[in-house]
């Protein structure tokens, strides 16, 4: 987020201020594509979503990340109009997902977690059926199949497609009405790494067409590689929202350098490096932990100043996985 600063008119020509305020005004008048405020959803005694609030801006890939059962799908399905939250307000493209669900469904594309189609429906029949369901606009289904690499499977039955092909078909169905917002729920769960990477490329392609993407995932790598911003959800509560890099910087300032050396004096030199909190040693391998962006520079400086000969050197940077562990006290894989 860029904030308009209070510039003094004496230091800057007046038109600079004008442009800044015009831009601020423009941004203020552009409502977020999705606005969720204080939604709560319970099933019996289980609270699935608890006071979740966030905005999704136009043209971004926004990820809702958390472990299985954290409330990701429930939140998404409330936004899609498939479930009614017990309380709270949702607006998607300015529409109420529950009262204006048909208007909304014409303008969004949806891929549901673990959805199936009729076993013996052919790929082209599914695309053709879906195209006929949307009133206002439709795009060339054959072209879409080609873009998603499904042209040679157009006459195959759904049940005979591979996992990756099924997911690509579901992406095709989600894009059939040229939607403004695309919802993808656990898109790559159960896919092999190769298909997963191919799907990531397709999702970036959706954003490049100027569409907004809202996705859920429990894969931190997927969130890190795809999302412009993520919201971390656990036990139905949103814990933090930001870009993956900002989340890492904010919550995990730790830096780690790992190096191999047989220099007997190394240990005491490492202890003296500013910002170092811990040095551990296993044989010739040293692990130096500390905080701050300068740590790596300081370690390299120490190595060269003391002429310490190293045979291996690498740094370990924290990632979203570490952020998650830090914020929730447990690993997302548990």
């Amino acid at each position: 987020m860029t904030r308009v600063q209070n510039h003094s008119t004496k230091q800057l020509p007046s038109w600079v201020l004008d442009i800044n305020s015009a831009q601020a005004l423009y941004l203020a008048n552009m409502p977020p594509v999705i606005q969720v405020s204080g939604i709560r959803k319970t099933y019996g005694r289980t609270v699935a979503v608890d006071e979740a609030s966030f905005d999704v801006n136009e043209g971004e890939i926004f990820g809702l990340i958390g472990p299985n059962g954290a409330g990701k799908t429930t939140t998404m399905e409330c936004i899609e109009g498939l479930r009614k939250p017990d309380r709270g307000a949702i607006a998607v493209l300015g529409l109420d997902p529950f009262r204006q669900v048909y208007q909304l469904q014409n303008r969004i594309g949806v891929q549901l977690q673990q959805a199936q189609l009729q076993k013996r429906i052919k790929v082209w029949e599914a695309v053709d059926l879906w195209a006929s369901l949307y009133g206002m606009k439709e795009i060339d289904g054959e072209h879409l199949l080609e873009q998603l690499g499904l042209s040679d499977k157009r006459s195959a039955w759904f049940m005979n497609l591979s996992g990756g092909q099924k997911q690509r078909l579901f992406i095709a169905l989600a894009l059939i009405n040229d939607p403004e917002v695309v919802f993808l729920d656990e898109l790559t769960t159960g896919l092999d790494p190769q298909s997963r990477r191919a799907i990531w490329g397709l999702v970036r392609g959706i954003r490049e067409r100027g569409k907004t993407v809202f996705l859920t995932t429990h894969l931190m790598e997927e969130a890190e590689r795809l999302c412009d911003r993520v919201a971390i959800i656990e036990h139905g509560r949103i814990i933090d929202i930001d870009s993956p890099e900002s989340l890492v910087r904010r919550h995990c300032p730790e830096r780690t350098a790992v190096l191999d050396t047989d220099d007997p004096t190394a240990a005491e030199h490492f202890q003296a490096i500013p910002g170092v909190e811990e040095v551990t040693r296993a044989g010739n391998r040293f692990t130096i932990r500390g905080r701050g962006d300068d740590l790596v520079t300081e370690v390299i400086h120490c190595l060269s100043e003391n002429r310490i000969r190293v045979t291996d050197f690498r740094t370990v940077l924290p990632n979203l996985e570490d952020v998650f562990l830090k914020l929730t006290g447990r690993s997302i894989r548990e």
């Binding site: 048909y102 469904q105 949806v110 009729q118 013996r120 059926l129």
Partner: protein, 248 residues
């Protein structure tokens, strides 16, 4: 949205016919039952007036009901499989109205019922006693009204069965015994009082009365009561399943 309804109906017909067991079970089996029973009954007909009467009216009505029930059981199974597989939910996330999705399935079943009935007529013609004049068109309409009414029971069953595995057996346990007390084998009036009361509450009884009457050449005015009862059953079951139907 009509375009979506016809597309969905057409695709569901194609998908159904691609399933080998489904098509054989609902279309071929009832026709075979008719042919086999027709042969057996025909061989014995001259010796017994009761058998002869059954051959004339009972058998075609029984097989027609079997056609209707297998259509309903197939609907129950398909709906539960679609629910379990998330297909219903995926369709519901489109601008397609929920009632359109279910209407498509009803239309598919009515079309298949008609096709099977016609097949039965064509294949079994030689087992009809000589001189029988069958009001084919009226009888088809009567069977469609009956099927339509029983289909609503099917939706009710589909609303309560927990998983697709149980759909077919639970449906069969509920529907087949209805034939026993429907008046097809024993007149409703001669049933014990309790069963008599039960029979009066079941739509199958009115379906049998309607089908038997139309087969024997009755006019529609004689069966307004049956049609009304079937309609009431349809409305009740539909209203109830609209309340309890689960999409996922």
């Amino acid at each position: 949205m009509l375009r979506g309804l016809w597309k969905l109906t057409w695709i569901e017909i194609k998908v159904f016919l691609r399933e080998p067991l489904g098509a054989i079970g609902t279309i071929v089996v009832p026709v075979l039952v008719f042919l086999v029973l027709g042969r057996v009954v025909n061989l014995q007909a001259p010796t017994s007036p009761a058998v002869s009467n059954f051959a004339r009216v009972g058998l075609p009505v029984l097989v027609s009901l079997l056609i209707a029930i297998s259509a309903v059981l197939s609907l129950v199974t398909i709906i539960s499989i679609y629910r379990e597989g998330g297909i219903l939910k995926r369709l519901r996330a489109t601008p397609l109205r929920p009632q359109t999705i279910l209407t498509a399935h009803v239309i598919v079943k009515l079309i298949l019922t008609t096709a099977t009935l016609i097949l039965m007529f064509l294949a079994g013609k030689r087992y009809f006693p000589p001189g029988t004049h069958v009001p084919l068109f009226s009888f088809t309409i009567a069977l469609l009204i009956s099927t339509w009414s029983i289909l609503s029971i099917g939706f009710l069953i589909a609303s309560i069965v927990p998983t697709a595995r149980f759909a077919q057996p639970i449906g069969a346990i509920i529907l087949y015994p209805m034939i026993a007390v429907s008046g097809l084998f024993v007149p409703v009036e001669s049933l014990p009082p309790v069963l008599h009361g039960v029979a009066r509450l079941l739509p199958m009884t009115y379906a049998v009365s309607l089908l038997q009457g139309i087969w024997q050449g009755d006019g529609w005015p004689a069966h307004v009561g049956d049609v009304a009862a079937l309609t009431v059953a349809f409305l009740l079951c539909t209203a109830l399943s609209a309340k309890i139907f689960r999409w996922e």
